[in-house]
Protein backbone atom coordinates (compact mmCIF):
# COMPACT_ATOMS: atom_id res chain seq x y z
CA UNK A 1 0.00 0.00 0.00
CA UNK A 2 1.36 3.40 -0.90
CA UNK A 3 0.46 6.87 -2.07
CA UNK A 4 2.73 7.99 -4.84
CA UNK A 5 3.19 10.76 -7.42
CA UNK A 6 5.82 10.56 -10.14
CA UNK A 7 6.38 13.16 -12.81
CA UNK A 8 8.99 13.01 -15.57
CA UNK A 9 9.69 16.31 -17.36
CA UNK A 10 6.10 17.63 -17.75
CA UNK A 11 4.35 14.26 -17.92
CA UNK A 12 2.78 12.42 -15.02
CA UNK A 13 4.27 8.95 -15.08
CA UNK A 14 2.32 7.49 -12.19
CA UNK A 15 -0.19 8.36 -9.51
CA UNK A 16 -1.08 5.81 -6.86
CA UNK A 17 -3.99 6.53 -4.60
CA UNK A 18 -4.49 4.93 -1.22
CA UNK A 19 -7.32 4.83 1.25
CA UNK A 20 -7.32 8.04 3.24
CA UNK A 21 -4.97 9.87 0.86
CA UNK A 22 -5.91 11.90 -2.19
CA UNK A 23 -3.18 12.31 -4.77
CA UNK A 24 -3.91 14.47 -7.81
CA UNK A 25 -2.18 16.69 -10.33
CA UNK A 26 -2.36 20.11 -8.67
CA UNK A 27 -4.34 21.65 -11.54
CA UNK A 28 -7.06 19.02 -11.07
CA UNK A 29 -7.16 19.70 -7.35
CA UNK A 30 -7.48 23.43 -8.09
CA UNK A 31 -10.52 22.69 -10.22
CA UNK A 32 -12.03 20.09 -7.90
CA UNK A 33 -11.53 21.51 -4.39
CA UNK A 34 -12.46 25.13 -3.95
CA UNK A 35 -11.14 25.05 -0.34
CA UNK A 36 -7.70 24.15 -1.66
CA UNK A 37 -7.44 27.27 -3.80
CA UNK A 38 -6.64 29.48 -0.84
CA UNK A 39 -3.55 27.39 -0.20
CA UNK A 40 -2.28 27.48 -3.76
CA UNK A 41 -0.23 30.59 -4.33
CA UNK A 42 -1.37 30.64 -7.98
CA UNK A 43 -3.30 28.56 -10.47
CA UNK A 44 -1.05 25.55 -11.02
CA UNK A 45 0.40 24.54 -14.35
CA UNK A 46 1.94 21.34 -13.09
CA UNK A 47 2.85 19.67 -9.83
CA UNK A 48 1.14 17.54 -7.23
CA UNK A 49 -1.58 17.77 -4.64
CA UNK A 50 -1.55 15.37 -1.72
CA UNK A 51 -4.27 15.45 0.90
CA UNK A 52 -3.92 13.11 3.85
CA UNK A 53 -7.37 12.68 5.31
CA UNK A 54 -6.92 9.58 7.45
CA UNK A 55 -4.05 8.03 9.33
CA UNK A 56 -1.85 5.92 7.06
CA UNK A 57 0.93 3.57 8.08
CA UNK A 58 3.17 4.06 5.05
CA UNK A 59 5.26 7.00 3.86
CA UNK A 60 3.98 9.28 1.12
CA UNK A 61 6.31 9.40 -1.84
CA UNK A 62 6.70 11.95 -4.59
CA UNK A 63 9.32 12.03 -7.31
CA UNK A 64 9.86 14.75 -9.88
CA UNK A 65 12.41 13.94 -12.54
CA UNK A 66 14.05 15.89 -15.32
CA UNK A 67 15.02 13.37 -17.97
CA UNK A 68 15.19 15.39 -21.21
CA UNK A 69 17.47 18.27 -22.19
CA UNK A 70 16.48 21.89 -21.52
CA UNK A 71 13.24 21.13 -19.68
CA UNK A 72 11.86 23.99 -17.58
CA UNK A 73 9.56 22.70 -14.85
CA UNK A 74 7.34 25.14 -13.01
CA UNK A 75 5.60 23.22 -10.25
CA UNK A 76 2.96 24.20 -7.78
CA UNK A 77 2.66 21.63 -5.00
CA UNK A 78 0.33 21.37 -2.06
CA UNK A 79 0.42 18.88 0.80
CA UNK A 80 -2.32 19.05 3.42
CA UNK A 81 -2.34 16.88 6.52
CA UNK A 82 -5.52 16.77 8.51
CA UNK A 83 -5.66 17.29 12.25
CA UNK A 84 -4.04 14.75 14.53
CA UNK A 85 -2.45 12.65 11.78
CA UNK A 86 1.15 11.49 11.90
CA UNK A 87 2.73 11.29 8.46
CA UNK A 88 6.08 10.67 6.82
CA UNK A 89 6.87 11.97 3.34
CA UNK A 90 9.82 11.14 1.11
CA UNK A 91 10.12 13.77 -1.57
CA UNK A 92 12.68 13.39 -4.36
CA UNK A 93 13.49 15.88 -7.10
CA UNK A 94 16.34 15.03 -9.45
CA UNK A 95 17.87 15.02 -12.89
CA UNK A 96 18.31 11.68 -14.59
CA UNK A 97 21.60 12.77 -16.20
CA UNK A 98 24.35 15.27 -15.54
CA UNK A 99 24.19 17.62 -18.52
CA UNK A 100 20.52 18.27 -19.21
CA UNK A 101 20.59 22.05 -18.63
CA UNK A 102 17.23 21.71 -16.86
CA UNK A 103 15.32 24.20 -14.79
CA UNK A 104 13.26 23.09 -11.80
CA UNK A 105 11.17 25.72 -10.07
CA UNK A 106 8.66 24.81 -7.40
CA UNK A 107 6.20 26.77 -5.32
CA UNK A 108 5.18 24.48 -2.51
CA UNK A 109 2.87 24.76 0.44
CA UNK A 110 2.62 22.27 3.25
CA UNK A 111 -0.21 22.60 5.74
CA UNK A 112 -0.22 20.76 9.05
CA UNK A 113 -3.55 21.02 10.76
CA UNK A 114 -3.85 21.01 14.55
CA UNK A 115 -1.91 18.25 16.34
CA UNK A 116 -0.61 16.87 13.05
CA UNK A 117 2.94 15.65 12.73
CA UNK A 118 5.09 15.40 9.62
CA UNK A 119 8.52 13.96 8.99
CA UNK A 120 9.47 15.39 5.62
CA UNK A 121 12.60 14.10 3.88
CA UNK A 122 13.43 16.26 0.88
CA UNK A 123 16.16 14.84 -1.32
CA UNK A 124 17.64 16.70 -4.28
CA UNK A 125 20.11 15.30 -6.83
CA UNK A 126 20.95 17.42 -9.83
CA UNK A 127 23.17 17.67 -12.83
CA UNK A 128 26.08 20.05 -13.08
CA UNK A 129 24.26 22.47 -15.41
CA UNK A 130 20.82 22.64 -13.84
CA UNK A 131 19.03 25.57 -12.26
CA UNK A 132 16.89 24.75 -9.23
CA UNK A 133 14.62 27.12 -7.34
CA UNK A 134 12.29 25.60 -4.74
CA UNK A 135 10.25 27.95 -2.61
CA UNK A 136 8.40 26.12 0.17
CA UNK A 137 6.11 27.47 2.83
CA UNK A 138 5.03 25.43 5.84
CA UNK A 139 1.93 26.36 7.80
CA UNK A 140 2.01 24.73 11.23
CA UNK A 141 -1.27 25.00 13.07
CA UNK A 142 -1.63 24.64 16.83
CA UNK A 143 0.39 21.79 18.44
CA UNK A 144 1.67 20.48 15.13
CA UNK A 145 5.19 19.14 14.66
CA UNK A 146 7.45 19.32 11.61
CA UNK A 147 10.73 17.46 11.18
CA UNK A 148 12.16 18.65 7.88
CA UNK A 149 15.41 17.50 6.28
CA UNK A 150 16.61 18.93 3.00
CA UNK A 151 19.58 17.05 1.60
CA UNK A 152 21.41 17.99 -1.57
CA UNK A 153 24.65 16.10 -2.09
CA UNK A 154 24.66 16.38 -5.89
CA UNK A 155 23.98 20.07 -6.38
CA UNK A 156 22.99 21.94 -9.52
CA UNK A 157 25.02 24.77 -11.01
CA UNK A 158 22.61 27.22 -9.44
CA UNK A 159 20.38 26.64 -6.42
CA UNK A 160 18.02 29.15 -4.87
CA UNK A 161 16.30 27.51 -1.95
CA UNK A 162 13.74 29.42 0.03
CA UNK A 163 11.89 28.00 3.03
CA UNK A 164 9.41 29.74 5.27
CA UNK A 165 7.74 28.25 8.34
CA UNK A 166 4.85 29.74 10.30
CA UNK A 167 4.50 28.21 13.76
CA UNK A 168 1.21 28.70 15.58
CA UNK A 169 0.71 28.16 19.31
CA UNK A 170 2.79 25.29 20.67
CA UNK A 171 3.79 24.19 17.17
CA UNK A 172 7.38 23.15 16.66
CA UNK A 173 9.67 22.74 13.70
CA UNK A 174 13.09 21.22 13.41
CA UNK A 175 14.69 22.05 10.06
CA UNK A 176 17.92 20.61 8.76
CA UNK A 177 19.59 21.72 5.52
CA UNK A 178 22.51 19.64 4.29
CA UNK A 179 24.05 20.99 1.10
CA UNK A 180 27.25 19.97 -0.61
CA UNK A 181 28.28 22.73 -3.00
CA UNK A 182 30.39 21.52 -5.92
CA UNK A 183 31.06 24.16 -8.59
CA UNK A 184 27.77 25.68 -7.53
CA UNK A 185 26.22 29.02 -6.86
CA UNK A 186 23.89 28.51 -3.93
CA UNK A 187 21.58 30.83 -2.10
CA UNK A 188 19.68 29.49 0.90
CA UNK A 189 17.10 31.53 2.72
CA UNK A 190 15.09 30.12 5.57
CA UNK A 191 12.81 32.03 7.89
CA UNK A 192 10.90 30.68 10.87
CA UNK A 193 8.13 32.79 12.33
CA UNK A 194 7.26 31.95 15.93
CA UNK A 195 3.75 33.32 15.84
CA UNK A 196 2.01 31.50 18.68
CA UNK A 197 2.76 31.17 22.34
CA UNK A 198 5.29 28.41 23.12
CA UNK A 199 6.07 27.92 19.45
CA UNK A 200 9.49 26.37 18.88
CA UNK A 201 11.89 26.39 15.98
CA UNK A 202 15.31 24.88 15.47
CA UNK A 203 17.26 25.31 12.26
CA UNK A 204 20.44 23.42 11.47
CA UNK A 205 22.47 24.36 8.43
CA UNK A 206 25.43 22.33 7.15
CA UNK A 207 27.01 23.76 4.03
CA UNK A 208 30.10 22.53 2.24
CA UNK A 209 31.91 24.62 -0.36
CA UNK A 210 33.98 22.69 -2.90
CA UNK A 211 35.47 23.52 -6.31
CA UNK A 212 34.75 27.23 -6.79
CA UNK A 213 31.40 27.19 -5.05
CA UNK A 214 29.80 30.43 -3.94
CA UNK A 215 27.37 29.85 -1.10
CA UNK A 216 25.25 32.43 0.62
CA UNK A 217 22.86 31.55 3.42
CA UNK A 218 20.44 33.67 5.38
CA UNK A 219 18.86 31.89 8.31
CA UNK A 220 16.36 33.84 10.34
CA UNK A 221 13.98 33.42 13.25
CA UNK A 222 11.38 36.03 14.02
CA UNK A 223 9.73 35.67 17.41
CA UNK A 224 6.47 37.55 17.64
CA UNK A 225 5.33 35.58 20.67
CA UNK A 226 6.93 34.01 23.74
CA UNK A 227 8.47 31.12 21.82
CA UNK A 228 11.90 29.54 21.66
CA UNK A 229 14.20 29.22 18.72
CA UNK A 230 17.76 28.39 17.83
CA UNK A 231 19.86 28.67 14.67
CA UNK A 232 22.87 26.41 14.22
CA UNK A 233 24.71 27.37 11.04
CA UNK A 234 27.99 25.75 10.06
CA UNK A 235 30.00 25.90 6.88
CA UNK A 236 33.01 23.90 5.77
CA UNK A 237 35.29 25.23 3.06
CA UNK A 238 37.14 22.50 1.24
CA UNK A 239 39.05 24.53 -1.35
CA UNK A 240 40.56 27.98 -1.44
CA UNK A 241 38.45 29.18 -4.38
CA UNK A 242 35.08 28.68 -2.70
CA UNK A 243 33.30 31.13 -0.46
CA UNK A 244 30.59 30.73 2.12
CA UNK A 245 28.64 33.58 3.59
CA UNK A 246 26.47 32.77 6.61
CA UNK A 247 24.04 35.29 8.03
CA UNK A 248 22.08 34.14 11.06
CA UNK A 249 19.46 36.71 12.00
CA UNK A 250 17.26 36.92 15.06
CA UNK A 251 14.32 39.25 15.31
CA UNK A 252 12.64 39.40 18.69
CA UNK A 253 9.31 41.17 18.98
CA UNK A 254 8.30 39.74 22.33
CA UNK A 255 10.17 40.26 25.59
CA UNK A 256 9.51 36.70 26.75
CA UNK A 257 10.82 35.00 23.63
CA UNK A 258 14.13 33.18 23.77
CA UNK A 259 16.03 32.95 20.51
CA UNK A 260 19.70 32.15 20.06
CA UNK A 261 22.14 31.36 17.31
CA UNK A 262 25.57 29.93 16.61
CA UNK A 263 27.45 30.16 13.36
CA UNK A 264 30.87 29.09 12.20
CA UNK A 265 32.78 28.48 9.02
CA UNK A 266 35.86 26.31 9.10
CA UNK A 267 38.14 24.45 6.81
CA UNK A 268 39.33 20.86 6.76
CA UNK A 269 41.52 20.30 9.79
CA UNK A 270 45.09 19.35 8.84
CA UNK A 271 45.30 17.30 12.00
CA UNK A 272 42.27 15.21 11.04
CA UNK A 273 43.41 14.91 7.44
CA UNK A 274 46.88 13.67 8.40
CA UNK A 275 45.43 11.29 10.97
CA UNK A 276 43.24 9.68 8.33
CA UNK A 277 46.12 9.50 5.86
CA UNK A 278 48.12 7.72 8.53
CA UNK A 279 45.29 5.20 8.60
CA UNK A 280 45.93 4.45 4.95
CA UNK A 281 43.34 6.72 3.31
CA UNK A 282 44.37 8.74 0.26
CA UNK A 283 44.00 12.51 0.66
CA UNK A 284 40.79 12.64 -1.39
CA UNK A 285 39.26 9.72 0.51
CA UNK A 286 40.15 11.42 3.79
CA UNK A 287 38.55 14.72 2.69
CA UNK A 288 35.41 12.90 1.54
CA UNK A 289 35.17 11.14 4.90
CA UNK A 290 35.53 14.39 6.86
CA UNK A 291 32.98 16.15 4.63
CA UNK A 292 30.60 13.19 4.92
CA UNK A 293 30.89 13.34 8.70
CA UNK A 294 30.26 17.08 8.71
CA UNK A 295 27.16 16.66 6.58
CA UNK A 296 25.97 13.83 8.82
CA UNK A 297 25.94 11.16 6.12
Amino acid sequence: MQAHYWQIDHQIKNITQAKGVVVLPSLKAWEKFSWARKWFSRKPKEGYFVWVRKQVNFPLATCVTIASPKIAQDLTNLLVIEAGLKVKANVVCHAARKNLYGSHKAQGKIVLKENASLEYNHLHQWGEKDFVGPNYEFILEKNSILLYTYKNLLPPENLELKTTVHNAKNASCNLSFVINGVESKIRVEDVVFLEGEKAKGIVRLRLVGKKNSQIEALSKITAGSPGKGHLDCQGLLVDKNSTISLKPELVCQNKDAQITHEASIGRISEEELNYLRMRGLAEKEAIDLIVGGFLGN
Binding site: M278, R279, G280, L281, A282, G292, G293, N297
Partner: protein, 252 residues
Protein backbone atom coordinates in the same frame (compact mmCIF):
# COMPACT_ATOMS: atom_id res chain seq x y z
CA UNK B 1 67.75 -7.13 5.84
CA UNK B 2 66.35 -4.88 8.55
CA UNK B 3 62.65 -4.13 8.56
CA UNK B 4 63.25 -0.45 9.29
CA UNK B 5 66.51 1.40 8.97
CA UNK B 6 66.95 5.08 9.65
CA UNK B 7 70.17 6.77 8.68
CA UNK B 8 71.25 10.16 10.02
CA UNK B 9 67.68 11.49 10.03
CA UNK B 10 67.27 15.23 10.48
CA UNK B 11 63.74 16.59 10.67
CA UNK B 12 62.21 20.05 10.96
CA UNK B 13 58.71 21.07 11.93
CA UNK B 14 57.41 24.64 11.86
CA UNK B 15 60.92 25.80 11.01
CA UNK B 16 62.39 24.21 14.12
CA UNK B 17 65.11 21.56 13.93
CA UNK B 18 63.87 18.68 16.04
CA UNK B 19 65.67 15.51 15.00
CA UNK B 20 69.38 16.09 14.63
CA UNK B 21 70.74 12.89 13.14
CA UNK B 22 68.85 9.82 14.30
CA UNK B 23 70.13 6.34 13.47
CA UNK B 24 67.91 3.38 14.21
CA UNK B 25 67.45 -0.21 13.07
CA UNK B 26 64.43 -2.40 13.78
CA UNK B 27 64.28 -6.01 12.68
CA UNK B 28 61.15 -8.09 12.07
CA UNK B 29 59.82 -9.34 15.40
CA UNK B 30 61.82 -6.79 17.41
CA UNK B 31 60.42 -5.28 20.57
CA UNK B 32 62.13 -1.93 20.92
CA UNK B 33 61.44 0.96 23.25
CA UNK B 34 62.15 4.66 22.93
CA UNK B 35 62.50 6.72 26.07
CA UNK B 36 63.16 10.40 26.30
CA UNK B 37 62.25 13.57 28.16
CA UNK B 38 59.46 15.87 27.02
CA UNK B 39 60.15 17.62 23.71
CA UNK B 40 63.10 15.41 22.92
CA UNK B 41 61.61 14.48 19.52
CA UNK B 42 59.98 11.11 20.24
CA UNK B 43 56.66 11.86 18.54
CA UNK B 44 58.49 13.69 15.74
CA UNK B 45 60.43 10.51 15.02
CA UNK B 46 57.15 8.55 14.87
CA UNK B 47 55.55 11.11 12.53
CA UNK B 48 58.64 11.20 10.32
CA UNK B 49 58.59 7.41 9.97
CA UNK B 50 54.93 7.61 8.97
CA UNK B 51 55.52 10.48 6.53
CA UNK B 52 53.43 13.17 8.26
CA UNK B 53 53.45 16.12 5.82
CA UNK B 54 54.10 18.59 8.64
CA UNK B 55 57.50 17.03 9.37
CA UNK B 56 60.17 17.77 6.79
CA UNK B 57 63.19 15.55 6.33
CA UNK B 58 66.15 17.85 5.72
CA UNK B 59 68.79 15.16 5.70
CA UNK B 60 69.06 11.40 6.00
CA UNK B 61 66.89 8.56 4.83
CA UNK B 62 64.33 6.04 6.02
CA UNK B 63 64.36 2.53 4.57
CA UNK B 64 61.62 -0.05 5.01
CA UNK B 65 62.38 -3.59 3.89
CA UNK B 66 65.34 -2.17 2.00
CA UNK B 67 63.28 0.40 0.09
CA UNK B 68 63.85 4.13 0.52
CA UNK B 69 60.49 5.46 1.75
CA UNK B 70 61.70 8.95 2.71
CA UNK B 71 59.52 10.62 0.07
CA UNK B 72 56.55 8.26 0.19
CA UNK B 73 53.08 9.53 1.20
CA UNK B 74 51.72 8.43 4.59
CA UNK B 75 49.03 6.26 3.03
CA UNK B 76 51.59 4.36 0.94
CA UNK B 77 53.72 3.75 4.02
CA UNK B 78 50.67 2.35 5.81
CA UNK B 79 50.04 0.03 2.85
CA UNK B 80 53.63 -1.23 3.26
CA UNK B 81 52.81 -2.17 6.85
CA UNK B 82 53.99 0.78 8.95
CA UNK B 83 51.42 1.94 11.49
CA UNK B 84 51.19 4.29 14.45
CA UNK B 85 48.91 4.61 17.43
CA UNK B 86 48.47 8.27 18.33
CA UNK B 87 48.92 9.72 21.75
CA UNK B 88 46.11 12.23 21.21
CA UNK B 89 44.09 11.19 18.18
CA UNK B 90 41.75 13.88 16.83
CA UNK B 91 37.98 13.47 16.80
CA UNK B 92 36.38 12.89 13.42
CA UNK B 93 32.95 14.37 13.91
CA UNK B 94 29.98 12.67 12.37
CA UNK B 95 31.92 9.49 11.52
CA UNK B 96 31.02 6.44 13.58
CA UNK B 97 33.92 4.26 14.69
CA UNK B 98 32.36 1.18 13.11
CA UNK B 99 32.04 2.77 9.66
CA UNK B 100 35.54 4.22 10.01
CA UNK B 101 36.97 0.76 10.68
CA UNK B 102 35.09 -0.57 7.65
CA UNK B 103 36.55 2.26 5.58
CA UNK B 104 40.17 1.66 6.55
CA UNK B 105 39.93 -2.13 6.43
CA UNK B 106 36.88 -3.23 4.40
CA UNK B 107 37.75 -6.93 4.43
CA UNK B 108 38.52 -7.25 8.13
CA UNK B 109 36.28 -8.19 11.00
CA UNK B 110 36.47 -6.35 14.30
CA UNK B 111 38.19 -8.49 16.89
CA UNK B 112 35.83 -8.75 19.82
CA UNK B 113 38.50 -10.23 22.06
CA UNK B 114 39.93 -6.75 22.68
CA UNK B 115 37.26 -5.98 25.23
CA UNK B 116 35.84 -3.13 23.21
CA UNK B 117 32.42 -2.05 24.42
CA UNK B 118 30.03 -2.52 21.46
CA UNK B 119 28.55 0.91 22.15
CA UNK B 120 31.94 2.47 21.37
CA UNK B 121 31.64 1.30 17.76
CA UNK B 122 28.48 3.33 17.46
CA UNK B 123 30.10 6.55 18.66
CA UNK B 124 31.87 9.20 16.59
CA UNK B 125 35.58 8.51 16.21
CA UNK B 126 37.48 9.73 19.29
CA UNK B 127 34.75 12.21 20.21
CA UNK B 128 34.50 12.34 24.01
CA UNK B 129 36.35 9.02 24.26
CA UNK B 130 37.98 8.42 27.61
CA UNK B 131 41.76 7.94 27.69
CA UNK B 132 41.35 4.16 27.86
CA UNK B 133 38.77 4.10 25.05
CA UNK B 134 41.12 6.05 22.81
CA UNK B 135 43.94 3.59 23.42
CA UNK B 136 41.75 0.57 22.64
CA UNK B 137 40.34 2.27 19.56
CA UNK B 138 43.84 3.11 18.31
CA UNK B 139 44.99 -0.45 18.93
CA UNK B 140 42.01 -1.84 17.09
CA UNK B 141 42.66 0.39 14.09
CA UNK B 142 46.29 -0.64 13.68
CA UNK B 143 45.45 -4.32 14.13
CA UNK B 144 43.04 -4.07 11.21
CA UNK B 145 45.75 -2.58 9.00
CA UNK B 146 47.80 -5.82 8.92
CA UNK B 147 50.97 -4.13 10.17
CA UNK B 148 54.54 -5.31 9.98
CA UNK B 149 55.67 -2.57 12.34
CA UNK B 150 53.58 -0.77 14.94
CA UNK B 151 54.82 2.38 16.61
CA UNK B 152 53.05 3.09 19.89
CA UNK B 153 53.20 6.74 20.85
CA UNK B 154 52.69 6.88 24.62
CA UNK B 155 50.15 4.05 24.61
CA UNK B 156 50.50 3.82 28.40
CA UNK B 157 50.05 7.50 29.19
CA UNK B 158 47.09 8.18 31.42
CA UNK B 159 46.41 4.48 32.02
CA UNK B 160 46.45 2.88 35.43
CA UNK B 161 48.56 -0.22 35.98
CA UNK B 162 45.67 -2.62 35.36
CA UNK B 163 44.72 -1.02 32.04
CA UNK B 164 48.38 -0.84 31.03
CA UNK B 165 48.67 -4.56 31.65
CA UNK B 166 45.54 -5.19 29.59
CA UNK B 167 46.88 -3.12 26.66
CA UNK B 168 50.25 -4.88 26.92
CA UNK B 169 48.52 -8.26 26.79
CA UNK B 170 46.71 -7.31 23.59
CA UNK B 171 50.01 -6.12 22.07
CA UNK B 172 51.65 -9.40 23.02
CA UNK B 173 48.81 -11.64 21.87
CA UNK B 174 47.87 -9.85 18.67
CA UNK B 175 51.22 -8.52 17.47
CA UNK B 176 54.36 -9.77 19.17
CA UNK B 177 53.30 -13.42 19.12
CA UNK B 178 52.63 -13.05 15.39
CA UNK B 179 56.09 -11.68 14.65
CA UNK B 180 55.06 -8.04 14.20
CA UNK B 181 57.78 -5.60 15.22
CA UNK B 182 56.80 -3.06 17.86
CA UNK B 183 58.42 0.25 18.72
CA UNK B 184 57.15 1.59 22.01
CA UNK B 185 57.53 5.28 22.70
CA UNK B 186 57.01 5.89 26.38
CA UNK B 187 57.70 8.63 28.83
CA UNK B 188 56.94 6.70 31.98
CA UNK B 189 58.30 3.34 30.84
CA UNK B 190 55.52 1.62 32.79
CA UNK B 191 54.43 -0.62 29.93
CA UNK B 192 57.97 -1.96 29.40
CA UNK B 193 57.63 -4.13 32.49
CA UNK B 194 54.96 -6.09 30.64
CA UNK B 195 56.44 -6.06 27.16
CA UNK B 196 60.11 -6.53 28.03
CA UNK B 197 61.81 -4.91 25.02
CA UNK B 198 64.94 -6.47 23.59
CA UNK B 199 66.43 -3.03 22.96
CA UNK B 200 65.73 0.30 24.63
CA UNK B 201 66.73 3.56 22.95
CA UNK B 202 67.04 6.92 24.66
CA UNK B 203 66.36 10.06 22.66
CA UNK B 204 67.63 13.34 24.04
CA UNK B 205 67.61 16.65 22.18
CA UNK B 206 66.89 15.05 18.83
CA UNK B 207 69.47 12.27 18.97
CA UNK B 208 69.47 8.69 20.14
CA UNK B 209 72.14 8.94 22.80
CA UNK B 210 71.89 5.53 24.32
CA UNK B 211 70.83 1.98 23.51
CA UNK B 212 70.60 -0.69 26.15
CA UNK B 213 69.59 -4.32 26.01
CA UNK B 214 68.39 -4.36 29.61
CA UNK B 215 65.43 -1.99 29.80
CA UNK B 216 65.41 -2.18 33.61
CA UNK B 217 68.90 -0.78 33.85
CA UNK B 218 68.00 2.04 31.47
CA UNK B 219 64.89 2.87 33.46
CA UNK B 220 66.73 2.66 36.79
CA UNK B 221 69.49 4.96 35.58
CA UNK B 222 67.01 7.51 34.27
CA UNK B 223 65.02 7.30 37.50
CA UNK B 224 68.16 7.78 39.57
CA UNK B 225 70.07 10.36 37.55
CA UNK B 226 67.58 11.73 35.05
CA UNK B 227 68.22 12.13 31.35
CA UNK B 228 71.27 14.28 32.14
CA UNK B 229 73.22 11.09 32.63
CA UNK B 230 72.19 9.87 29.19
CA UNK B 231 73.60 13.02 27.61
CA UNK B 232 76.98 12.16 29.04
CA UNK B 233 76.87 8.71 27.49
CA UNK B 234 79.77 8.20 25.10
CA UNK B 235 77.31 7.42 22.28
CA UNK B 236 75.90 10.91 22.46
CA UNK B 237 79.21 12.73 22.28
CA UNK B 238 80.64 10.68 19.46
CA UNK B 239 83.48 9.64 21.77
CA UNK B 240 82.28 6.07 21.87
CA UNK B 241 85.09 3.77 22.93
CA UNK B 242 85.66 0.46 21.23
CA UNK B 243 83.73 -2.26 23.03
CA UNK B 244 81.72 0.15 25.15
CA UNK B 245 77.96 0.07 25.00
CA UNK B 246 75.12 1.78 26.66
CA UNK B 247 74.34 -1.12 28.91
CA UNK B 248 77.80 -1.22 30.33
CA UNK B 249 77.82 2.54 30.70
CA UNK B 250 74.48 2.53 32.43
CA UNK B 251 75.59 -0.29 34.67
CA UNK B 252 78.48 1.80 35.98
Amino acid sequence: MKLLEIKNLKVEANGEKILKGVNLKIAAGDIQALLGPNASGKSTLAYAILGHPGYKITEGKIFFQGKDISRLSPEKRVKLGITLTFQNPPAIKGVKLFSFLKKIAPQKIVNKKLGLAPSLLDREVNLDFSGGEKKISELLQVLLLSPKLVIFDEIDSGLDIKKTEKVAKIIKDELISKGVAVFIITHSGQILNFLKPNLTNVLVEGKIVCQGKDYRKVLETIKKYGYERCKKCSLSTGRRKRGSNASSLLAN
